[in-house]
Subunit: 356 residues, 2 copies
């Protein structure tokens, strides 16, 4: 089993190092190979997704990804900016299914900006389509406005689109995920305005016939954003497109107040996947040894479960993470009075110790 390790920028290398430490004590014989990505890829090879890095990711059974982006790359032309690496990996590896759990650990209920009764016990799964929609749709660009009151002026434009097969496959992933949970799926659309999402709604409704044991409902994206704030625990699994999923999954993660705890998986049709923390590269705290490595460690657990067929190892890691929380260990992002403040390495070491 070969795992591509892509630490990236900012706090990426520090947090990935802890996850690697954890992987190394599991007693498995994984082959880990590291390559630069994002700003680090640009610095080393003049491109955020260097050819060698892409080749490694393609050849591997799974990819463990840190985070990309740092100040010095902010003013590069768009095609060279760090985030192009993540878009390129998703597209080239066909990682169409993004799984983003939003879980509030009981010990961290205080970290949320929401009242405890609104979020305690929160456990929702957002499934975001990741290789379609307006993220990749053509044509796009800046052109002369062809008609209407602004005719002749410059205009920026993009194309939103979803083909039937693209909607079907993500719907299957979502219904199957719901079957393993509370059997409730909310499909989020904007069918009242967008043709793309009326079509999305129709296809999801059709796929539902194959999953009569799952209760399906449809919700407009603006209402979904409201309900996530009002009563997030009412949701079980949510499925939506790439653009809406980008917004809603981040909002849902922030409900927990502890985005430093949240992993993510991006899967292809054969359960090969890329695993990364839900948070970003946080260049402001990079190199200080204070970043929370748990989201990355939990991403490694998701990798073991979904791509490497090692569900027991995944559970071992998840149990170890819960036990370090129960011990009261906290990195700065989740620290509160009465708990023990630790750094990135000490947190990684504590998980390793808890695994033993």
């Amino acid at each position: 089993m070969k795992i591509a390790i892509l630490p990236g920028d900012g706090i990426g290398p520090e947090i990935v190092a802890q996850a690697v430490k954890v992987l190394n004590v599991l007693g498995e014989s994984f082959e880990l190979e590291t390559a630069p990505v994002g700003g680090a890829g640009y610095a080393a090879h003049g491109h955020p997704l260097p050819e060698g890095t892409l080749a490694l990711a393609k050849a591997a059974d799974a990819v463990l990804f840190g985070a990309v982006g740092d100040y010095q790359y902010d003013n590069l032309e768009r095609q060279f900016r760090p985030e192009q690496a993540i878009l390129g990996l998703r597209k080239n590896l066909g990682l169409f299914a993004n799984l983003r759990p939003a879980i509030l650990y009981p010990e961290l209920a205080g970290a949320s900006t929401l009242k405890p009764e609104v979020v305690s016990g929160l456990d929702i799964l957002i499934i975001r389509e990741l290789t379609g929609d307006i993220y990749f749709g053509q044509p796009r660009g800046v052109r002369e406005c062809p008609d209407g009151p602004f005719k002749g002026q410059r205009e920026g434009y993009d194309t939103m689109r979803y083909a039937e097969g693209e909607i079907r496959r993500i719907a299957h992933v979502a219904f199957q995920a719901a079957q393993k949970r509370d059997k409730r799926l909310t499909s989020v659309d904007k069918a009242n305005v967008l043709e793309t999402f009326q079509f999305w709604k129709d296809i999801v409704t059709d796929v539902h016939q194959e999953y009569p044991d799952v209760a399906l409902d449809h919700m407009y994206v603006d209402n979904a954003a409201m309900q996530l704030v009002r009563a997030p625990k009412k949701f079980d699994v949510m499925v939506t497109g790439n653009m809406f999923g980008d917004i809603l999954s981040d909002a849902a993660a922030m409900l927990t107040g502890s985005i430093g705890m949240l992993p993510s998986a991006s899967l292809d049709a054969n359960n090969k996947g890329l695993y990364e923390p839900s948070h970003g590269s946080a260049p402001d705290i990079a190199g200080k040894g204070i970043a929370n490595p748990l989201a990355t460690i939990l991403s490694a657990a998701m990798m073991l479960r979904y791509s490497l067929n090692r569900a027991e190892q995944a559970e071992r890691i998840e149990t170890a993470v819960k036990s370090v929380l129960a011990q009261g260990l906290r990195t700065a992002d989740i620290h509160e009075a009465g708990t023990t403040l630790v750094g990135t390495e000490a947190m990684g070491d504590a998980v390793v110790k808890a695994l033993a």
Copy 2:
């Protein structure tokens, strides 16, 4: 001064009636004329935006709008559904600037699902572009997928677009609104992915040169959704496109926990406007006399300020609303122990009394 009164569906007629009552006691000689819209328009004339209703709205100096939508219209073809009325009014009247204040009244801090310290004193203004973007962009529809791995299948598609002049005019509205407040403007985009919003960002940055007294920052939409949950009070004025604004303004409204209190204004280039509560038609409670009329009454106040040049009357109404809250009067949606539960009419009467 002529005001078009469009009550619409669900609780629309009940809440608009209270706002009309308030307008009638101001001692102004407004001419009010009522017409059906939404489902009521369809029921009366076979179209959600009947010709007579549109003509009235065009002829009037301002439009006071209730809400549209009810169960019996849910399965109509899209072009006949109630929400087409609101899209049609926006487009036909050129109402490109949507102003959505999210204000938390101190008396209602408990209604929020967020912790009091996170939201108390919240006062942000979201400015949403309302006649462009993917809401109206052509082409759109369902077609045969022209290329890629799904070639030949059906696909739904839409066009996102913003012309330079469209971005400039909403940017001017936003900078000028910020000048009247705390002089801070956050422009929300997705420039890292979308050509439309890289262009948006460039134009907003250019317009900023004319407003050196306003501090401008740019934020990605996913991050904006997170920051609204994490630290909403950090914002002053936010400006964004139609689609992102739809999502963010609803999320921001829900932060207050009292969306029944929030008005909105949709303005054209000459400050003619349509005014409506931020909440919907709530058909589940229609006809029960329990809906909160304050958002509609406060929308009438915005109308007096922006379209009818009666700022003092607007303030009188706003002060009257604050005083009924201070008296402890609450409709069911904002009721809590220790306050007095009142119905729609009684709340309207209390505002009228407070005005006297």
